[in-house]
Point group: C2
DNA sequence: GCAAATTTAAATGTCATACAATTAAATGTC
DNA sequence: GACATTTAATTGTATGACATTTAAATTTGC
């Protein structure tokens, strides 16, 4: 691992990249201890603060963890699905909010991905995920539920649908798509009528999964997508009319 | 934005989180300049190196960019799709390699997602993406192509299929799923026979997209998935036999 | 001789200060 | 007015010190 003092990049960025590449290539295996900060600063011929900045960059990406104390140091971290979920969600959220992605585009992506899960979920139809879906449907029908709580339950319902596919990689990929949309979903005011409609569609989806009928789940998800987009467009139109 | 000196977390981690939350909430809009490092160190009542560690954490996630010089400083960065792609790919790659995700599971996720794109691509059937797919198919049939080059072309083909859906959010989500599998794909030795088979399937997929026939694309992708898994299993079996 | 208490050493976390490098704006010069 | 120079602000890097944490080594007490 070498760095170039004449590169346009910061030294800390170069060092971080060198270590990152060593981790990706497998040269540094999981749980391996990196040299101490002092040793690294000698190896790369830079000061300790510079090394520390590099290590913080890696820590921010969950590539390493640090421990204090006698046997402490920086260790290569096993990237857990949980950590990856969290990163995926914040990245997706920022991507949508900062790039003026239309509700329709985000919605299209989300439901396309969900339709990808539906056949797998329908094939497995696991009891616990189905139970979660039913429970969330029940919660959604409670009167006096706030719009935020309704949305949160909506997210939980769809996560259960996705997790029902029993593929952690899929769940990870979809976590971002589903949760990143919550801010825009929250702006929708769910009337009693629209809630009834959505609950009916959720029920049909759960039924389709339980029956092992993927085409039906697919079609109902498409219906739900159009309905959601219509609701959002109503909100946008109402706002435009006011202004 | 306040921090707690008695928290178990590092000061730099707390500061990074505080700024991150301000960015996510929109309190700090895109291109806004953060206070200088000296000002931040006064505001948070910590030293400048500590502030810098916090800023490097944010820079590692592409949340800020820094400029040197008189009018320099740290600016809130608009998270571009390109940056998000890159993060998504490294995260996915590490997730697969560090968690002993089976080839079959990763493959299932990948093809489920691709099948999600197929109907959208078939509806749009854009000329340039179709041209890219045809060009990659042609490249794949060149004799003397290395396994690595064949794999790279395979990735390009599938990316074109995905990008053909015309939904940048989908493309972003799928970039990870497709490219993260390249390391495991590279271990497969593609014989002349298997290449012919794969090229035939690719051709049928392109034909289906061009014809606007989503069901056909879906079915062919499923075939390609099974065939890929079979090839991988052969490699694994051959290795086991040797040992 | 063994267990508990203490000391020690190694590592990260934090601070203070200084200087180098870069960049744009202000200033000066012709 | 155009061009060169200076200046000031800001990040990048280095040095050295001290605080804090943690496990291992040592000492002490019985």
């Amino acid at each position: 691992m070498k760095i170039d003092p004449n590169s346009p990049k910061d030294l800390s960025a170069q060092i971080a990249q060198a270590i990152k590449e060593a981790i990706i290539s497998g040269e540094l295996p999981v749980d391996e201890r990196l040299p101490s900060e002092s040793e690294l600063s000698e190896q790369f011929d830079v000061s300790r603060p510079t090394v520390r900045e590099a290590l913080k960059r890696l820590a921010a990406q969950s590539l390493i963890r640090t421990q204090r104390g006698a046997t402490g140091g920086a260790f290569v971290n096993r990237l857990s699905f949980k950590d990856a979920y969290a990163q995926q969600i914040t990245t997706s959220t920022l991507l949508l909010s900062m790039n003026a992605v239309s509700f329709e585009t985000a919605c299209e992506a989300r439901y396309a991905l969900e339709r990808a899960c539906a056949p797998l979920s329908a094939a497995k139809r696991e009891a616990d995920h189905l139970a979660t879906m039913r429970a969330e449907i029940h919660r959604q029908s409670q009167p006096g539920l706030s719009d935020e709580a309704f949305c949160a339950s909506d997210v939980a319902f769809h996560r259960a649908l996705v997790d029902g596919a029993g593929n952690p990689v899929l769940s990870y990929q979809l976590a971002g798509a589903i949760e990143a949309m919550q801010p825009s979903m929250n702006m929708i005011t769910f009337t009693a009528r629209s809630r009834t409609e959505i609950i009916a569609l959720h029920t049909r989806i759960a039924d389709a999964i339980e029956a092992g009928a993927p085409e039906q789940a697919d079609a109902t998800l498409t219906e739900l997508q159009s309905y959601t987009v219509r609701l959002a467009n109503d909100v946008i139109a109402a706002r435009a009319a006011k202004a």
